[in-house]
């Protein structure tokens, strides 16, 4: 039984799209600073990249607060359950019109592969980019200033981490943009992230099978009902 469910709440959608715009903009300005492309002009690229970076950090601060206050962070806890089925689906099932092995629900929006990839973005790639980015910005040449202990001999290592992270993010975006089209229909995932609503399998049944977080399930269910 399918029903239309409000799956992405307003802040979540705002966060997602703001993050998307900022990351695209950071990539464009960043790769100009890196010397790969020419578009904004070097001085502007540096200026815009810094503004976008601060915006991103503010957004991340809000997003962290949201994740913890709503308990949504649990969505990203990795699980091996269904992992093999999910991989098999992307490699074979998808071509045979087989059903998605992981049922999407409000309480479990992500399949095991998504959980793993998004979690590594959240705890590895994004922190690497933020930390190396801040060091890049506030790096002040060797032996200047009084904090000898905080001396960084060269910007090289910082820059290499920052560049490597940028390539990873770009690769993620390419795959992510494609996987959007692998929902129930080609556009259903995109529509869901825009409107918040998606037609998914009946929720009642799923909640009963989800016994991982019974407490949160109740709370979430109530919240979803109000949203």
């Amino acid at each position: 039984m399918k029903q239309k469910v409000y799956i992405y709440r307003s802040f979540e959608r705002f966060w997602h799209w703001a993050q998307a715009i900022i990351i695209f903009f950071l990539a464009a300005t960043g790769f100009e600073i890196h010397g790969s492309i020419t578009f904004f002009g070097y001085q502007n690229a540096v200026k815009y990249h810094n503004i976008a970076a601060y915006s991103f950090i503010v957004l991340i601060a809000f997003a962290i607060f949201w994740h913890f206050s709503t308990g949504e962070w649990r969505q990203y806890l990795p699980t091996a359950k269904n992992m093999k089925a999910q991989i098999n689906y992307y490699l074979f099932g998808i071509f045979k019109n087989a059903p998605h092995p992981t049922k999407k629900t409000v309480l479990s929006k992500l399949n095991p592969l998504q959980k793993l990839v998004y979690l590594s973005l959240k705890i590895l790639v994004i922190p690497t980019m933020v930390i190396s980015g801040l060091l890049y910005m506030f790096y002040r040449y060797p032996q200047k200033g009084n904090m000898e202990g905080l001396n960084i001999e060269s910007i090289k290592v910082i820059a290499l981490f920052h560049t490597a992270g940028a390539f990873l993010l770009l690769a993620f975006i390419i795959v992510h943009l494609y996987l959007i089209t692998t929902g129930a229909t080609v556009t259903s995932n995109l529509k869901a992230m825009i409107t918040g609503y998606e037609e998914i399998e009946s929720e009642e049944k799923k909640i009963n099978t989800n016994d991982e977080f019974p407490e949160e399930s109740k709370i979430l269910k109530n919240e979803v009902g109000h949203a």
């Binding site: 959608r13 001085q43 915006s55 071509f95 019109n97 560049t163 390419i174």
Partner: protein, 524 residues
């Protein structure tokens, strides 16, 4: 609707916070107009020298003028006699060598090589009279001070050629003595624009075109601009003139810094201001030098001495620059040149007369300038590198100071007799150094920091002149990582492959999906 308002409000907040954080970092723009007003205010002289009785007479020798000067300015001569303009040397500490009295008496350059033995000619640019020989010249006789070469305001004073520093006989000493004042560009330029035996030969950024040139040559000195005089920046107290050239100095002191007027954070953009920690102002603001006339880039002494019909001759290029002189050898010239760039911390070393050369397979740098990325006092500066082949004794391993100038043939001077062995023998004997009788020519280099011919803001370098993969001005400086110029080949190719594989994977996966879904539709 409510959600949209909340979203827009949040986005607005994010933008407002980030703009707030960023704009607080920007510094106030340096008040250039205040600086211009300050420098435009030139007080009138407090005395009129035409009214002094002591100057209203016929002077028969320049020494009489000096005596008249000293009769009023009683203590000034003592100041002058402490200066390197007078002594042709200054006390310097050189790393690894200790304290030396460094100057034209003991250093060697790769232009006319050195003054020793050639003083009568070289002393045209000494602020004294009667310099026949630097060893016998009396550095304590104050009447030999040439006050006029620096303080003449008539622009009629000129030193004679090969007269040991004495003025040309045509100079009206009384008139000049009555019209003296603060030195002008014409006073300094008459020597400093012509170092190395011709206009702009040595420095490359000091050219006779700057006597009264436009600000397109130098933004500070342009007569259509601020029209600054040399001493406006080279501030002078008690005849101690600030600023010096590292052809003859070694220590990080008494330098003229742009920051004295322009401060350390002159830009409106905070990121540009951060550059001043490691990049000298000159690096971006002097994009080219030798803007008006050519400067000498290479001097090959080994070809000197060729004669036509027993007579020395010269060859010139289309601009009138000598490309060959029998007395000096072959030259290469250049104008509108991009400088070379090096790290410099304000200290230098020097080849001094009598030093032995360890390795002649690489060019010998006569004045190595010290600095590196890791050195906190170092900044990137623009330099002119002058190369040469100059005489060398392969047995004693010393550079040779030849006798070049003499009034007549037969004294061993190369410029009269064109005999290297004889000129080297006489020259080295004059400074009590051995000469084996053998001469070869070795490659040498000199580094000349470029400090003048500053361009306008609009004509200065922009980010991508250095921050770019190709044709970076700093492509030769490889001891640090610079954004845009540098990258890790590994990360670059790994990243490229990653993106390519992602695209290919997506493409192949998508294609198979498309084909299989069509097949399934067909099957129904």
């Amino acid at each position: 609707m409510k959600k949209i308002i909340i979203s827009v409000a949040l986005l607005g907040l994010v933008i407002a916070v980030s703009i707030g954080i960023l704009s607080s970092k920007e510094t106030e723009q340096n008040p250039l107009s205040l600086l211009q007003a300050k420098l435009s205010d030139k007080p009138a002289p407090s005395v009129d020298h035409t009214k002094f009785a002591v100057l209203k007479k016929k002077f028969t020798s320049p020494q009489q003028v000096t005596a008249a000067c000293i009769s009023c300015h009683t203590e000034r001569a003592k100041e002058v006699m402490k200066s390197n303009h007078w002594n042709w040397e200054r006390e310097e500490y050189i790393e690894g060598r200790g304290i030396v009295y460094l100057g034209k008496k003991n250093a060697i350059n790769n232009f006319c090589i050195g003054t020793e033995g050639n003083e009568e000619s070289c002393a045209k640019c000494h602020i004294g009279y009667g310099m026949k020989n630097s060893k016998t010249f009396s550095y304590t006789d104050s009447t030999n001070i040439d006050c006029l070469v620096c303080h003449d305001n008539t622009e009629t004073y000129a030193k004679g050629n090969e007269k040991g520093g004495a003025p040309d006989v045509t100079v009206d000493l009384s008139n000049v003595a009555q019209h003296v004042g603060e030195p002008k560009r014409s006073n300094c330029g008459v020597c400093h624009f012509f170092g190395g035996g011709g206009n702009n030969v040595k420095h490359g950024d000091l050219d006779k075109a700057m006597f009264d040139g436009p600000k397109s040559i130098d933004i500070h000195m342009g007569t259509d601009g601020m029209n600054l005089q040399c001493v406006d920046c080279h501030k002078t107290e008690k005849h101690n003139i600030s600023g010096k050239m590292y052809s003859l100095s070694s220590m990080n002191r008494n330098r003229v810094e742009c920051e004295e007027c322009h401060t350390e954070s002159p830009h409106a953009d905070a990121i540009l201001n951060q550059h001043t920690l490691k990049v000298a102002c000159q690096t971006c603001h002097i994009p080219t030098y030798a803007k008006a006339n050519a400067t000498k880039l290479d001097w090959d002494w080994s070809t000197a001495g060729k004669l036509k019909n027993g007579e020395p001759y010269e060859e010139d290029d289309k601009d009138g620059n000598h490309t060959y002189l029998s007395i000096k050898g072959s030259f290469k010239w250049g104008n509108n040149l991009k400088p070379d760039y090096i790290w410099f911390n304000g200290t230098a070393s020097h080849y001094l007369l009598g030093d032995t050369v360890a390795d002649t397979t690489v060019p010998l740098v006569l004045n190595p300038l010290y600095g590196s990325y890791q050195d906190k006092d170092s900044k990137i500066i623009p330099v002119k590198i002058h190369t040469a082949r100059q005489p060398y004794d392969p047995v004693t391993k010393m550079l040779i100071q030849p006798k070049l100038f003499a009034n007549k043939k037969g004294e061993g001077a190369f410029w009269k007799d064109f005999n290297w062995e004889r000129a080297a023998d006489v020259g080295m004997k004059d400074i009590d150094l051995p000469f084996s009788g053998h001469i070869s020519f070795i490659r040498t280099e000199m580094y000349w920091p470029v400090n003048h011919m500053v361009s306008s803001k609009e004509n200065s370098l922009t980010c991508t002149d250095c921050h770019s993969r190709e044709n970076s001005r700093l492509s030769g400086m490889n001891d640090f990582y610079m954004p845009a110029r540098d990258y890790s080949p590994f990360i670059e190719s790994a990243g490229g492959w990653l993106l390519l594989l992602a695209l290919a994977g997506v493409f192949i996966h998508g294609t198979i999906r498309l084909i299989s879904s069509r097949k399934m539709k067909k099957r129904g």
